[in-house]
C-alpha cells in the first residue's frame, strides 16, 4: 500500500504525466472532430461512430489514447530505473515485484481514467463537429442506452473494449520497459506490438472459428489490423475452445513472465 501511495505521488508529481494526458486529450479531440466532420451523410453506422469517438487514426498501430497510456506506463518504469530515489531499497526481489505490481495498478487506473476522459471529450467534439446530413439517432438512441448499454450491435461494447485496451496498452508499455529499462525503447516496442500480434491473431481466429472474426470486428472497430480477418470470415467452421483463447492470451502471459524473470537477475529496477 505504501508503494502504491508513493507511486501515485510520483505519477502526479512528474510533469510528463500531465503533458502526456493533455496532449492525448487535445489530439483526441482534434481527430474526433475531423473524423466526424468527414462522415458521410445518412444514417450513422455504429463502427463509424465508434471510430470517430475513439479518435482512431488509421496509420497509427494503436489509438492515440492507448499510445498515451503506453507512454505513461513506460515512463513509470523508465524514470524509476533512471533516477532511483532510493536505489538500495529495491535490492530484494520481493520489493521489486511489489513495485512492479504497484506500478501496474496505478498505470492501469490512470489508463482507464484517461480513456474515459478522452471518450467523453471525443464524444463532445464529434457531436459538435457532426455534419448536418448525418443521422445519429440510431447510435444515440435515448431509449436504448439506459436499458441496454452493452447490447449487441450497440456502441457500448466496443467502447468498453477500448477502455480495456487502454489499460492493456499501459501495462504493455510498463512491462516492455521493464525488460529494456529504457522508456523510449519501451514505447517504440509497444507501438510495434500490434503489427506483430494482429495478423497472428487474425490468422488464428480465421482458422478456428466462424463467428469470432465477426465479433472481433464488431468489438474492435478501431484496430485496422484486424481487417484481414473479415475477408475470410465464413470460410471455415470450427468451435471456439480453450486452446484458442489460451493462444490469444499467450503474448500477454509471455510478457508478464519475461518481466518477472528479468527481475530475478537484477538488483535494482
Amino acid at each position: 500500500m505504501r508503494v502504491v501511495a508513493s507511486e501515485v505521488r510520483r505519477l502526479c508529481g512528474v510533469r510528463s504525466t500531465w503533458l502526456v494526458a493533455a496532449g492525448a486529450l487535445l489530439v483526441n479531440a482534434a481527430v474526433a472532430a475531423f473524423t466526424a466532420a468527414r462522415l458521410p451523410a445518412g444514417e450513422l453506422a455504429v463502427p463509424d461512430a465508434v471510430r470517430s469517438v475513439a479518435a482512431v487514426v488509421p496509420v497509427l498501430p494503436l489509438p492515440p489514447t492507448v499510445l498515451a497510456a503506453a507512454v505513461l506506463g513506460a515512463l513509470a518504469y523508465g524514470n524509476e530505473a533512471r533516477w532511483p530515489g532510493l536505489p538500495a531499497s529495491r535490492v530484494t526481489l520481493g520489493r521489486r515485484l511489489g513495485a512492479l505490481l504497484a506500478k501496474s495498478s496505478v498505470v492501469g487506473a490512470a489508463a482507464v481514467l484517461l480513456a474515459v476522459l478522452t471518450l467523453g471529450v471525443d464524444a463532445l467534439a464529434a457531436w459538435l463537429a457532426l455534419p448536418a446530413g448525418v443521422d445519429a439517432s440510431t447510435v444515440l438512441d435515448p431509449s436504448g442506452l439506459p436499458a441496454a448499454p452493452f447490447a449487441a450491435g450497440g456502441p457500448g461494447r466496443p467502447l468498453a473494449v477500448f477502455v480495456v485496451l487502454a489499460a492493456a496498452g499501459g501495462w504493455a508499455g510498463l512491462l516492455i520497459t521493464s525488460l529494456v529499462r529504457s522508456a523510449v525503447v519501451g514505447i517504440l516496442l509497444t507501438g510495434a506490438l500490434p503489427a506483430l500480434l494482429e495478423p497472428t491473431a487474425g490468422l488464428l481466429l480465421h482458422r478456428t472459428g466462424r463467428n469470432w472474426p465477426v465479433w472481433v470486428r464488431e468489438l474492435m472497430p478501431f484496430q485496422y489490423g484486424l481487417d484481414l480477418v473479415r475477408d475470410a470470415a465464413d470460410r471455415t467452421a470450427g468451435a471456439l475452445d480453450g486452446v484458442v483463447v489460451a493462444a490469444l492470451l499467450a503474448p500477454a502471459a509471455l510478457l508478464v513472465l519475461a518481466a518477472v524473470l528479468a527481475q530475478l537477475r537484477r538488483r535494482s529496477l
Binding site: 505504501r2 508513493s6 508529481g13 532510493l86 536505489p87 538500495a88 538488483r267
Partner: protein, 612 residues
C-alpha cells in the same frame, strides 16, 4: 556496527579486481571514512555492502545482511553515487520527490518537510530538481537517505559538490549524528576532508585496504602541511630555507614545496634577502601509507635481504579473527593507549627539539616489544607475504639501538643550529636513524614491492615522538582471516643489511627518482636528500603540477643547518641514495647502507657533485 568482511569484487577476463578482500568495521558512535582515489573501490565497496552488485564477502549490519533487514530504509540510510548527478527525476519538484520517497519508506509526509528544512533546501523545495546545483542534488539525496530516521548511514561521496559552507554544515551534522550513537560510513577522495570528518580513516588503494587508522594517527602520519613558494629565484631561496631548517623539494617548474618553515617566515626570509616571490601559499599534501612491516619481495632482487619480523599470535589475542570484534577493539584500544603519550609529547609545540637535546632513543615508543602491529598482508600481493618466513629478530633491534646511541652521542657534541620553527610532526631529530625496510611503495603490478630503506627509523625515534607511530600507526589494519592471522611488525630499528643495494637498484631502474635532484638544490643544500615515501595513489591524486606525483618522484631535501660535510645530523636516511648517478656506485654491496660513515661520505660526494 557494520562489520565488513572480505568484500571482493572480481571481474572476469583477467581484469584486476575492483576490490580485494576488504575487511574493517564501522563502529557506532564513530564516523568512519573510506579514503581513496578515484577508482580505488570506495563506491564498489558501498554497493557491495547493500548488495546492489554481485560480489564476494559479507557485510553485517548489527549481525544481519542488508537483504535480511525487514525495512532497511528505517535502519540504514544509503546515499549512493549514481551515474547521474540528479537526485531524482528532473521534472519533479524537490518536495514532491521527497514526499514520494517518504511514502515508499513509510514515514509521514511531515518528515519530508522537516528534512528539507534540515538540509537547507526548504527555500527551493518547490522548484524542479532539474534546476538544482550538484550540491543541492547531494543534499536532496542526503535528505532522502535520512527519511527513515536511520541509525546507520552509508554515504558515498557525500560532500561531492558541496560548497565549503555546506561542507562545514555537513561535518557538524555527521558529528552530531555519530555523537548520538549512530554509525556513519562515508567515502571521500580528499584526505583533508577525511581528517576533518572522520574518527577513523580507512584507506583504500586500488581495491586493497591500505590502512585503518584513528584520525589522530591519520593526521599525524598521513597529512603533511607544506608551503608552496613560486618565484624566479627559487634555488637561492631553497638554500636559505634549508639553512633555516626547512625541508624543500621542487614543485613544478619554478616552485618549491617547503615544509618545516612557516609561511610568514618564508616571506620574511625572502624579503630580507631580496628574493622575489610570485606565490606563497599553504597547502596540505597526503603522505603515503607506510606499512608496518617488512615484507619479502617476490622478485629476484631480494636475494640479500633478510626479513625479520616478530611473529605474533602468542600474546594477548593477536589471533584476530575477523569476526571477533571484541579482540579487535581491545587491540586497538591498546594501540591507542600506547600512542597517547607520544601524541601528548608532541602536542604542546610542533617544533622539534634542538639537536643538542638528549633524549632517549626510544621516546614515543612503548617499552618492550610492540604489542600490536598486525601485518596487513591483504594489501600486498599474496605471494610476497606468504613466502616470508616470519621470525623474531631481537638482536637486530638491539644492534640498532646501540648504533643510534652512538650516533646520538656524536650529535650531542655539535653546537645546536637554529632550531627550525614550526617543524612538521615528522621532523628530523638529532638521533641517528637506523635504516629499516620500508615497503610502503606500491609498485606496479609485477614489479617488486620491496621499497627502499627510508626514514622510518628516523621517524620512529625522533625526539618529538611524532614519527614514533608513523610505522605503527598504520598497523591498525587487521589481519585477514585467510592469512592465518599472522601478525608482524617491523623489527623496530632492525637494520637490514643489503637493503641499500636493493634501493640502489631500484633507483637505477627508476631514473625519474633521481632526475629530480637538480644540481641547484644539491649544490645549495649540501645534504643528501631524504626520501618522501612514494604516494600509493595515482598521479592525479597529488596536488602536483608536474606529470608525476610529487610524493612519488621527488625527494625532500633534508632539514638542517648548512654545515660542512660530515656533520652529525646527516644520517636521517642512511639508506637513501645520493645524488643522481651516485647511488649505484656508492653502495655496491648495500652493506654500507647501515654505516653512518657511508652516509657522510655520500653526502660529501653530493656536495662535490653539486658544487661549482
Amino acid at each position: 556496527m557494520i562489520q565488513i568482511t572480505g568484500l571482493t569484487k572480481a571481474y572476469r577476463r583477467g581484469r584486476p579486481p575492483a576490490l580485494l578482500d576488504l575487511t574493517f568495521d564501522a563502529r557506532p558512535g564513530m564516523v568512519t571514512v573510506l579514503l581513496g582515489d578515484e577508482g580505488a573501490g570506495k563506491s564498489t565497496a558501498l554497493r557491495l555492502m547493500v548488495e546492489l552488485e554481485r560480489g564476494h564477502g559479507l557485510t553485517l549490519f548489527d549481525g544481519r545482511t542488508y537483504r535480511r533487514i525487514r525495512r532497511p530504509e528505517r535502519e540504514i540510510g544509503v546515499l549512493l553515487a549514481t551515474g547521474r548527478p540528479e537526485a531524482g527525476h528532473p521534472g519533479q519538484r524537490a518536495r514532491v520527490h521527497l514526499r514520494m520517497l517518504a511514502g515508499a519508506v513509510g514515514v509521514p509526509v511531515r518528515r519530508a518537510d522537516d528534512l528539507l528544512e534540515q538540509t537547507r533546501l526548504a527555500g527551493v523545495a518547490d522548484h524542479r530538481i532539474g534546476t538544482f546545483s550538484p550540491g543541492m542534488h547531494r543534499r536532496l539525496a542526503l535528505a532522502a537517505a535520512l527519511l527513515g530516521n536511520p541509525s546507520t548511514l552509508l554515504l558515498d561521496a557525500p560532500t561531492e559538490g558541496l560548497s565549503p559552507g555546506n561542507e562545514e554544515w555537513f561535518g557538524a551534522f555527521l558529528r552530531s549524528f555519530a555523537l548520538s550513537g549512530g554509525t556513519v560510513l562515508a567515502t571521500t577522495r580528499a584526505p583533508e576532508e577525511a581528517a576533518a570528518l572522520a574518527d577513523r580513516v580507512v584507506t583504500l588503494d586500488a581495491g586493497r585496504l591500505a590502512a585503518d587508522q584513528p584520525v589522530v594517527e591519520f593526521r599525524r602520519t598521513r597529512l603533511h602541511p607544506e608551503v608552496l613558494v613560486r618565484g624566479p629565484q627559487m634555488a637561492r631561496l631553497a638554500d636559505l630555507l634549508v639553512a633555516q631548517g626547512g625541508q624543500v623539494r621542487r614543485d613544478g617548474g619554478a616552485g618549491l614545496a617547503v615544509s618545516g618553515v612557516g609561511r610568514t617566515e618564508i616571506g620574511e626570509l625572502a624579503y630580507r634577502n631580496g628574493i622575489l616571490l610570485h606565490e606563497l601559499s599553504d597547502r596540505v599534501v597526503e603522505r603515503p601509507v607506510s606499512y608496518p612491516s617488512a615484507l619479502p619481495s617476490g622478485s629476484g632482487r631480494s636475494g640479500q635481504v633478510t626479513i625479520r619480523t616478530v611473529r605474533q599470535g602468542q600474546g594477548q589475542g593477536q589471533r584476530q579473527d575477523q569476526d571477533q570484534e571484541q579482540g579487535q577493539g581491545q587491540t586497538q584500544d591498546q594501540a591507542a593507549a600506547h600512542r597517547a603519550p607520544a601524541a601528548g609529547q608532541e602536542a604542546p609545540d610542533g617544533r622539534a627539539a634542538a639537536p643538542g637535546e638528549q633524549r632517549p632513543v626510544t621516546v614515543g615508543r612503548p617499552a618492550g616489544p610492540e604489542p600490536e602491529r598486525p601485518l596487513d598482508h591483504r594489501g600486498l600481493q599474496a605471494g610476497r607475504w606468504a613466502a616470508a618466513a616470519l621470525a623474531p629478530n631481537p638482536p637486530a633491534q638491539a644492534q640498532a639501538q646501540t648504533q643510534a646511541q652512538a650516533q646520538q652521542a656524536q650529535t650531542a657534541s655539535v653546537p645546536a643550529p637554529t632550531p627550525p620553527v614550526q617543524v612538521p610532526p615528522v621532523q628530523m631529530s638529532p638521533v641517528a636513524p637506523v635504516p629499516t625496510v620500508d615497503l610502503t611503495r606500491r609498485t606496479p603490478r609485477g614489479s617488486s614491492a620491496l621499497g627502499r630503506t627510508t626514514a622510518r627509523a628516523a621517524e620512529e625515534e625522533t625526539v618529538t615522538g611524532a614519527g614514533a607511530e608513523s610505522g605503527a600507526g598504520v598497523s591498525e589494519v587487521r589481519p585477514g582471516a585467510r592469512g592465518g592471522e599472522r601478525s608482524a611488525r617491523p623489527d623496530g630499528g632492525g637494520a637490514v643489511p643489503g637493503l641499500g643495494a636493493v634501493d640502489a637498484e631500484h633507483l637505477a631502474a627508476n631514473p625519474t627518482d633521481a632526475e629530480l635532484l637538480t644540481p641547484a638544490r644539491i649544490r645549495g643544500v649540501g645534504h643528501h636528500p631524504a626520501p618522501v615515501r612514494p604516494l600509493p595513489g595515482r598521479p592525479w591524486s597529488v596536488g602536483s603540477t608536474g606529470l608525476r606525483p610529487a610524493g612519488r618522484t621527488e625527494r625532500v631535501e633534508q632539514a638542517g643547518p648548512a654545515e660542512p660535510a660530515g656533520r652529525p645530523r646527516e644520517s636521517e636516511e642512511p639508506g637513501e641514495p645520493g645524488p643522481p648517478g651516485q647511488p649505484g656506485a656508492e653502495r655496491p654491496g648495500g652493506a654500507g647502507a647501515v654505516d653512518p660513515r657511508g652516509t657522510a661520505r655520500r653526502s660529501a660526494v653530493g656536495d662535490e657533485n653539486g658544487s661549482e
